[in-house]
Every structure is written in structure tokens, then in C-alpha cells.
């Protein structure tokens, strides 16, 4: 190592390192960088004083401002609650008819309802509310538990087979698994049920099968689905005479339903969604249905 010398071109000292004739300049850290470093340190000292910072053995410095993430969150939630308080109170207190006549409130329902629906309902019922395999259509006029707004809102609150204390309970029995109906009887009643749907829904089954099916239907099905197969909203039994099938309307799907039973679950939203949110969703579904029928 050679001795540090003054470099004649820059006027700075060298480090004294030399590699095959290449000498290293000992250029100091620029003043601006040191200044920023000092400012950064200073600003952290200020924040240490203002906000919670240094931990000790049993506690920590709380800071002069007395703020923390949780109270900050509470404040911002309070603020947004004040902003939405007016329409929330309106939605909670006004009747469904009054809300649907109020165009400003209806706009809020569409805006807020869309977000709620996407976050909570669309996963099963689809973004357009048309349902899917295992999930009912919300935009047709067929309802398992009733389609007036109060009933829809109650279904939202307690759910179906949801484990909620007041949940709506509905169960299609497992006629095959529990040995109530034979395969032949199940197939016959499935054919009969298909024949209920519509006149153009012809089945390959002969009249004998259909009359056996009708007999089985009379014995096993009418208590829930009604003598004419139009369902019963008090027990959530679907209408079998329309063309919408939650679990499929071909003979194999119906036979599967008859064999293993069905116990569809709709979660309850009593805890997750507020009263205003549930009412908004009810109105939103109604709005979706009207849009779909147009």
C-alpha cells in the first residue's frame, strides 16, 4: 500500500490503495446525501414523539397525539357512516313501495346493491342473478320461499338450512338411499314429474310408467310439492311444473335428486350484513328481475 497523496486533477486525497497502477480516490459522501440522511433521522424523531413508537418492557411510548391504527380506522368509519346515515335511515324506515318511487334512493340501491351483490351473492347466484347448477334463479318469478320483499329479506336474514337459530329448514328426502322407493319407482315418478312441466316436453315413457309415477307422486311427493306439483313456499318445496330446475330436469338428474335427496344451503346474513344492506339487496334483486323481464 502506498501513502495517501493529493490527486493533482481533482485536488482530493487518494485512499492509498493501488492496483496495478490504478489509484483509488477518497471522495467523501456528497453533502446533499448527508443532509437528506440528517433530515430523515430528524423526521423519525418527530414521529417518535407524536405517534406510538418505542417499545419498553411492559408497554411502549404512546406518542403525544394519542393516535393508533385502530382509532384512526374508527374515525374514518364514523365519518363515512355520517355521510351515508341519511339514505341508510331512509332505506331502513321507508316502505318498499316508497323507496321504489324515490328515484334518488333507487339510484343508491343500484349503486350500493351492485357492490353488495357481487361481494356476497354473485358467487352462487351468478353476477346476473340467474342462478346455476344447485342455485336458484333470482330474476324469474318462481320463488322457493316467496317473492314478496319482506319474505326475501327474511330469507336473507336467516338463510336456508344455514345453522341460524331461526333458519328456514327444507329437506328433500333420500328416497333411494333410505330404501323408500325402488329404482323403477324413482324412474317412473321422475318421468311423471317431467310430464308436468309443459306439453311440448314429451317423455319416452309409456302411459303405464306415467300412471305408476302418478301413483308414487300421490303417495310420497304431494305433502311438500302439493297435489298439482306446484310446490309449497311454506316448506321451500319447488314448483315442479315450470321449466326451471335447480338440480337439472333430465331423468337422470331427477333420479339423482330422488335417490340421495337434496338439502340446499343458503348462508344466513344476519350477522354479516346490516338491516339496511339486506334491504338494499332485496330491492336490488327486485330491480334485477325487472331488468331481466324487460
Amino acid at each position: 500500500m502506498s501513502k495517501p497523496v493529493r490527486d493533482p486533477y481533482t485536488g482530493r486525497m487518494t485512499t492509498g490503495h493501488e492496483w496495478n497502477g490504478i489509484i483509488e480516490l477518497n471522495t467523501p459522501v456528497p453533502k446533499l446525501v448527508l443532509l437528506f440522511l440528517a433530515l430523515t433521522f430528524l423526521s423519525s424523531v418527530i414521529i417518535w414523539l407524536l405517534a406510538p413508537a418505542w417499545p419498553g418492557l411492559n408497554s411502549y411510548t404512546k406518542g403525544i397525539l394519542g393516535i393508533d391504527q385502530r382509532t384512526t380506522l374508527e374515525h374514518s368509519l364514523e365519518k363515512s357512516a355520517i355521510k351515508t346515515a341519511q339514505w341508510r335511515t331512509d332505506i331502513e324506515t321507508l316502505s318498499f313501495e316508497d323507496i321504489s318511487r324515490n328515484s334518488a334512493l333507487l339510484a343508491t340501491v343500484r349503486d350500493h346493491g351492485e357492490r353488495l351483490f357481487e361481494d356476497n351473492c354473485a358467487m352462487c347466484h351468478g353476477p346476473d342473478g340467474k342462478g346455476g347448477d344447485g342455485y336458484p334463479n333470482l330474476v324469474d318469478d318462481q320463488w322457493l320461499w316467496g317473492g314478496d320483499p319482506e319474505t326475501i329479506m327474511e330469507t336473507l336474514r336467516v338463510g336456508v338450512n344455514s345453522g341460524h337459530d331461526e333458519a328456514r329448514i327444507s329437506q328433500m328426502m333420500a328416497y333411494g338411499r333410505d330404501g323408500i322407493l325402488t329404482l323403477e319407482q324413482r324412474r317412473a315418478v321422475a318421468a311423471f314429474v317431467i310430464s308436468l312441466s309443459s306439453s311440448d316436453h314429451t317423455t319416452p315413457e309409456d302411459a303405464e310408467t306415467l300412471s305408476l309415477g302418478a301413483e308414487v307422486f300421490e303417495q310420497q311427493c304431494v305433502s311438500c310439492h302439493g297435489p298439482d306439483g306446484r310446490g309449497m313456499q311454506s316448506v321451500g318445496a319447488p314448483n315442479l311444473t315450470d321449466d326451471f330446475w335447480i338440480y337439472g330436469g333430465d331423468i337422470t338428474s331427477i333420479d339423482n335428486t330422488l335417490r340421495d335427496g337434496r338439502q340446499g344451503v343458503m348462508p344466513n346474513w344476519d350477522e354479516r350484513l346490516s338491516l339496511a344492506d339486506r334491504k338494499v339487496l332485496t330491492l336490488y334483486i327486485d330491480d334485477l328481475a325487472q331488468g331481466a323481464s324487460q
Binding site: W54, P55, G56, L57, N58, S59, Y60, Q69, R70, T72, L73, E74, S76, L77, E78, S80, A81, T84, A85, R88, H112, R115, L116, D119, N120, M123, C124, P127, G132, D133, G134, G163, R177, G264, V265, M266, P267, N268, E271, R272, L273, S274, L275, A276, D277
Partner: protein, 251 residues
């Protein structure tokens, strides 16, 4: 001072030791006191433990790397509380070994997932996510429904959890494999023991809808339905988000 630094830089081992000392200051000051500060973890005497089936499902959740795309940590931010529910508390993870907070959300946060959807939905969604959520990028996990669940080592898993502080009783550990079966077969004799040890409030259902066998799907769905339901501390603590009518689906 600058002169001394030049000297330190020329001593390789001394310099390395210096770096280690400086780098550990942050950890010592920020992490070590958390073990002695009372506020770090809230108390919840009513918190329940994971059932053996849920724990098995949790192991599958880890095996399949679900945590890489899903967090289980609702932060104290307005938009998160409004979308997912009350923010997460430390106590909710006290029986999570290892914790599964995650650090990235390709999919949504799952901290309040338990009870939000039906078992059937979870099964269908794991088998074919796009059949239910057309824009989803989640892979399908079809083998879960085919693979039998191995419950033979569940007593060992429970006793390992007990060693790190989860209050499983000896009875729970000894019967862990039976209880895992019983929870997914509520009509079987094994269910009696399960209810005796974990109470009637515990979810006991045919989670995957298939009564004939106990699959990995049963376990994973049982776990997913348990997330956020072990402790009610978060919803109790977060009264503000419960009582005020807020945007979105906050509890």
C-alpha cells in the same frame, strides 16, 4: 470516526460481526418486547381449538399453497373492514402453528370465510372455480375429492400442536383419528365421541356431500368453514363496525 470505519472495513470478520450486531438491533427492539407487553395478544377464554378434521384440512391448505394467493389477515384499513368484516386480532391466530396470514392477495382474504358460503359451493368451487366465478384465476383442485384422507397420524399432529401451546386434552389426542372421521360422518358412531369432545356447536356434516368415504375435500371444506369462527373476539372488539351502518359487508 471516519478513520475508525476505514479500519473496520479492512477487518473482514470484525466487519461481518459488526453488520450482524447492527442488523439485529431492529429485531431486538421491535420483536423482543412483544413477548413482555401485555397488549400484544388479546385474551379470549372462550376460544375453541381446531377439530382434528379441521387441522387435517389446514395441513392440506398448507400443502396446496393456498396461503400464497389468499391472506387471512384483515388489516385496520377502512376498505378492508368494509369488504371483509372486523379486522383481525392477534388472539385469533393463537392456535395457528404456523400462522397463515399470508402476504399477497391474488384471491380475496379468507379471514372471515367460515359460514359465508355453503359446503356445496366450496366443493364445486374447488373442483372447478370458473363454473361459479367466471373471471377466477384459481386452479382446480380435483384430486381433493378423489384422495382418501389419511387420519392415522392425526393424534401425532394434535400432540405436536399441544407441545407448542394448543390446549388439546389427552382424550382429544388419543381419539383424533376417530373424531376426524366422526365430524365428517355425523350419523356414525364415531360422531358421538366427536360431539362429546368438541360440543354440539361444532360443524359436523358430510362436507363433500359424499357419504361413502372420508376425503381430503371433507377436511379442507371443514377447515375453510372454520376460518374466523374459533374466536368471537374480533366481532366483539370491533363494536364500531358492528353498530354503525357501514359500506359493504362489514359485520
Amino acid at each position: 470516526m471516519l478513520g475508525k470505519h476505514a479500519k473496520l472495513e479492512r477487518t473482514a470478520i470484525g466487519f461481518a460481526i459488526g453488520i450482524i450486531i447492527v442488523a439485529s438491533i431492529g429485531g431486538l427492539i421491535e420483536i423482543a418486547p412483544l413477548f413482555t407487553i401485555d397488549e400484544t395478544v388479546e385474551e379470549d377464554p372462550d376460544m375453541r381449538v381446531y377439530t382434528p378434521l379441521e387441522l387435517a384440512g389446514r395441513n392440506i391448505y398448507i400443502r396446496e399453497g393456498c396461503y400464497a394467493c389468499h391472506s387471512q389477515m384483515i388489516r385496520t384499513l377502512q376498505d378492508e373492514v368494509e369488504r371483509y368484516g372486523p379486522y383481525s386480532l392477534a388472539v385469533e391466530s393463537q392456535y395457528d402453528h404456523p400462522m397463515l396470514w399470508g402476504s399477497k392477495r391474488t384471491g380475496p382474504d379468507l379471514a372471515r370465510l367460515g359460514g359465508k358460503y355453503s359446503d356445496q359451493w366450496h366443493v364445486a368451487h374447488l373442483l372447478d372455480p370458473r363454473s361459479l366465478v367466471p373471471q377466477s384465476v384459481m386452479p382446480a383442485y380435483r384430486w381433493l375429492a378423489r384422495n382418501d384422507l389419511d387420519v392415522s397420524d392425526m393424534p401425532l399432529h394434535l400432540s405436536a400442536q399441544k407441545k407448542v401451546g394448543v390446549p388439546y386434552t389427552d382424550d382429544m389426542i388419543a381419539n383424533a383419528d376417530e373424531d376426524a372421521f366422526g365430524q365428517a360422518n355425523p350419523d356414525s358412531e364415531a360422531a358421538d365421541g366427536f360431539f362429546e369432545r368438541y360440543g354440539f356447536e361444532a360443524n359436523a356434516r358430510y362436507f363433500d356431500g359424499d357419504r361413502r368415504k372420508l376425503t381430503e375435500m371433507d377436511a379442507l371444506v371443514a377447515y375453510l368453514q372454520s376460518i374466523g369462527t374459533l374466536s368471537e373476539a374480533a366481532s366483539k372488539n370491533n363494536e364500531i363496525t358492528k353498530t354503525i351502518p357501514d359500506e359493504g359487508g362489514a359485520e
